[in-house]
């Protein structure tokens, strides 16, 4: 071959020497190799973890009390707890634990471990404490409220009235309330840190897999737990690999060097969806993409302006052109698919109507503002689309991009004008999960610092709405509760909120066809214990990439 230069000839010769012309082997049949962006994996401590990616790992190292069925989310299945009941006063949930379960250390799993693990969340007061604090648990009361009256029994007393169903969903869906081997963790405690530093890079669970090693932003290895109480997992090893670049991830799965690719750019997912060797699993998540306005900013304190913005978003256009693979058009705060979710109100881009509303509000020529957005997709594209439609009615929004900290940090400080973001929990299949995160705002004072409520962050406050949300949560009659949630959505819509929902998140995961029983979980608690590979379904990896 004539390469034209001595360099080319040298390079070619070296490549041939090193490679021997070898083609990559496909992944071993008893191992699962998952490629994903591991940027957000900062800790393995179940009480401190943030984001969905880490939940998918932690739930395979630990056992929760109960879990949600990935096929029917409201179906709560036993895990460490074989059964549970709620008292008549609806303030006490009692769990009966399974016998004979052992931690990876060989220690038995006891009710004391479960109670200690839950108390630990509140005492540590890290990322996973927020939901439990919103249910009334505190550092001071948790030791009394979560207890074990006799061996094998765990009691959770609710500190304030709540819907026990929601609490049960939280226990099953969050991935943080799992059994930690308290003896092992206590042995690694430093300066009263509840073992937090040690658990950042280690585990003390009883789950189907054990942690072998974790190098941040590189690789996480787990191997099967042969003593697992549900039976030994079929995979001997699961490897999570960090990929910063979606296109690299795509080449690797195309070549058969990976079994599953997560967090891939939509363009790459779309390209792979035509590959007969792969399937693309699309999972609806509870979080909502939105355009938020700060009501502390005088323009947006005016409901006419907020209403104008409502008509200055091309929901359908954004959904069709920008959100394929990222989300589906949705204009309600409660996630789609719940019995209590109202149909979309059908808002559309309507420039003349928006202009008229702006004129009524006293801004016939529009005004200048800023639009904050993450420098990632699809956020940036949504912001650009919104900017252009706002402009058509005279609202000149300057886009300010940044990292999560810069964008959401400003929102937490209530120092923003407009923002394109995503939020709303929705992890639990209960309307309150979304309303709590997006709408509820019990105290609108700056001093209240209710930074975990996006209602507070935007300064949107309606006393009646808060009362309605509280009451609906406590309603015992399911039909009446559903009607209450309908009324809340109607009222929220009529008040012209500061947060305009436009799309519900979906997640796309590419899986090679020989991988069986992989069911991506909407709550991110994807269980790997039953996954295996069917060699007969394996196809020869592509002879080459199809181009980028």
């Amino acid at each position: 071959m004539n390469t034209g230069t001595p360099l080319g000839a040298w390079f070619l010769a070296l490549l041939l020497t090193v490679s021997g012309g070898a083609v990559q082997a496909k992944t071993p049949p008893d191992q699962l190799l998952i490629g994903m962006n591991m940027n957000n994996l900062l800790t393995l401590d179940p009480a401190a973890m943030t984001g969905n990616d880490i939940v998918g790992i932690v739930v395979n190292l630990y056992d929760p009390l109960i879990e949600l069925d990935p096929r029917a989310l409201t179906n709560v299945r036993p895990a460490l707890a074989t059964s549970w009941e709620v008292n008549d006063a609806r303030d006490l949930i009692t769990f009966h634990l399974r016998d004979g379960v052992k931690f990876h250390s060989g220690n038995p799993v006891t009710a004391d471990d479960v109670v200690w693990s839950m108390r630990r969340i509140l005492h540590l007061n890290l990322a996973q404490a927020s939901v439990w604090k919103s249910y009334g648990f505190t550092k001071k009361n948790v030791d009394e409220m979560v207890r074990t009256p006799s061996p094998g029994i765990v009691e959770i007393q609710l500190p304030k009235p709540n819907d026990p169903k929601l609490v049960i969903y939280s226990l099953a869906a969050l991935g943080s309330v799992v059994a930690l081997d308290s003896k092992t963790v206590k042995a690694h405690e430093v300066n009263g840190d509840w073992g937090n530093r040690w658990l950042t890079t280690n585990e003390a669970g009883s789950g189907p897999f054990r942690l072998d090693s974790w190098q941040a932003k590189d690789v996480l290895n787990m191997s099967r737990n042969p003593q697992y109480w549900r039976g030994e997992p079929r995979l001997t090893r699961v490897v999570f690999r960090h990929f910063q670049e979606s296109q690299t991830l795509r080449l690797m799965i195309e070549k058969g060097d990976l079994d599953i690719a997560n967090n891939m750019a939509v363009s790459d997912v779309t390209a792979l969806s035509h590959d007969p060797a792969m399937t693309v699993d699309t999972v609806k998540k509870g979080t909502i993409y939105y355009v938020a306005m700060s009501m502390k900013e005088p323009h947006f304190a005016n409901p006419k302006v907020r209403e104008a913005v409502r008509y200055l978003i091309d929901y359908q256009g954004i959904g069709k052109a920008l959100m394929t693979g990222y989300g589906i058009v949705h204009q309600r705060p409660i996630q789609v698919g719940m019995p209590a979710t109202l149909p979309d109100p059908g808002y559309r881009l309507d420039i003349p109507r928006a202009k008229a509303l702006l004129a009524e509000a006293g801004y016939p020529d529009g005004f200048d503002t800023t639009l904050r957005v993450l420098a990632d997709q699809p956020f940036l594209n949504i912001a650009i689309a919104v900017q252009s439609t706002l402009m058509q009615a005279g609202i000149r929004a300057k886009i300010v991009t940044g990292t999560g900290n810069q964008i959401y940090g400003a929102m937490r400080e209530r120092k923003f004008d407009m923002l394109v973001g995503r939020g709303g929990s929705g992890v639990e299949p209960h309307p309150h999960s979304s309303l709590r995160a997006l709408v509820y705002n019990p105290d609108n004072n700056d001093a209240a610092r209710l930074t975990n409520f996006q209602g507070w962050r935007t300064g949107f406050y309606d006393k009646q709405l808060n009362t309605d949300i509280d009451q609906a949560l406590l309603e015992r009659d399911p039909e009446k509760q559903k009607q209450d949630y309908f009324a809340i959505q109607e009222r929220y819509d009529a008040l012209i909120p500061a947060l305009v929902p436009l799309s519900q998140m979906v997640d796309s995961i590419v899986v090679r066809k020989d991988v069986k029983n992989y069911l991506p979980h909407p709550s991110a608690t994807t269980f790997l214990r039953d996954v295996y590979k069917d060699e007969s379904q394996a196809t020869t990896p592509s002879a080459g990439g199809k181009g980028l």
């Binding site: 360099l7 490679s19 082997a25 943030t50 990322a127 927020s130 950042t200 080449l251 070549k255 900290n405």
Partner: protein
């Protein structure tokens, strides 16, 4: 007697070495001071990264306090320096491990990549530069200049992606992203952190071959990038030498062109080239970020970038110190070598 004790065997005054060391210490201190204060005013909030965007205020405040951000900046800097004096770089947010441990893990990965890259870059770039100078304005010169231009102006990210597409995905000649095939991961015990060396120590030829197979493409692409710089500099140094009178004299004396080029001209540019190669190597160690990103190479550049994005200042400061040390040491070394090889600079 006095003269002997005041100088090294090479003839460099000991006082000058001491002076340089003081300069190094001051430079590094300044670097740390600047990085620390820039880090603290950067609009990145590491607390939010730890607690997540949905955490409530009490959690945020607790972590803010735990990290010592409520203390005055000078106190924070003092605490950092005091830790540093005891060899403690602090813990990284990104990994939860001591920064020293992290750097010791990621640095060999980058060093392995950069070392092979500089061997390739200098090994090919220097002869090409000499060739271009010797055959000035010939086809060979133009070809070298085009290669150099291409290496300089082609975005390394794009070259990396195309390299993966062609040599990994289409031809299947090299391994994909990462330092090894997944199935071979963990097969050799980590001693040095250099995959090739560790495989040799373990006598595991499969891992050695596989590691080389993964290393060759990113190293060649990085090498291509430094080749562009090195060949251009070599060419210009050589041209300067070839126009000197002593070269004309050598030719008049009837020396062969080989002798003129290599024994007369090239020998005179060796010291300059040493500086060029040393600085190119330093740049590779510091900034193979894009290639590390494309190839999911768990190296220093990728670690530094992630730490910066997270506002993980302990990690950033540790990395800055290492990068500063690299450049200071390389500068110092090339400076000293200048003095060794070129007596005129001793004065």
């Amino acid at each position: 007697m006095t003269t002997q004790t005041q100088t090294w065997r090479s003839g460099i005054p000991a006082g000058r070495i001491g002076k340089r060391l003081v300069q190094v210490a001051v430079t590094l201190f300044g670097l740390l001071l600047l990085t620390f204060f820039i880090g603290r005013v950067m609009p990145v909030d590491p607390v939010l990264a730890i607690v997540g965007p949905d955490a409530d205020h009490s959690t945020y405040q607790q972590v803010y306090h735990q990290l010592g951000f409520d203390k005055p900046l000078w106190t924070q800097f003092g605490i950092y320096l005091s830790g540093l004096a005891h060899g403690d770089f602090g813990n990284a947010l990104l990994t939860g491990k001591p920064v020293t441990q992290d750097i010791l893990r990621v640095f060999p990965a980058t060093m392995e990549l950069a070392t092979l890259a500089i061997i390739l870059g200098a090994g090919v770039g220097i002869p090409l530069g000499v060739l271009a100078a010797a055959k000035r304005n010939s086809v060979a010169d133009y070809v070298v200049r085009i290669i150099s231009l291409a290496g300089y102006s082609t975005p390394i990210f794009w070259v990396g992606m195309m390299g993966l597409l062609v040599f990994y995905a289409w031809l299947g000649w090299v391994g994909g992203a990462g330092r090894l095939d997944f199935s071979l991961d963990g097969q050799v015990t980590r001693h040095s952190g250099f995959m090739l060396i560790d495989a040799l120590i373990a006598g595991n030829w499969e891992v050695f071959r596989n590691a080389l197979n993964h290393l060759i493409l990113p190293a060649s692409l990085l090498g291509f990038h430094s080749l562009a710089y090195i060949s251009r500099m070599t060419r210009s140094f050589m041209l300067a030498q070839l126009s000197q009178e002593f070269i004309i004299t050598a030719r008049v004396k009837g020396l062969s062109e080989w002798d003129v080029l290599w024994n007369h001209a090239f020998r005179n540019i060796l010291v300059q080239l040493l500086t060029v190669v040393a600085l190119a190597y330093g740049s590779l160690l510091e900034g193979a970020v894009l290639i590390e990103t494309v190839f999911s190479w768990p190296g220093f550049g990728s670690y530094l970038t992630s730490s910066l994005m997270l506002g993980d200042m302990n990690a950033v400061m540790g990395c800055v110190l290492v990068v500063g040390m690299i450049f200071v040491v390389l500068n110092l070394l090339s400076d000293l070598l200048y003095q060794v090889f070129d007596p005129r600079t001793k004065v």
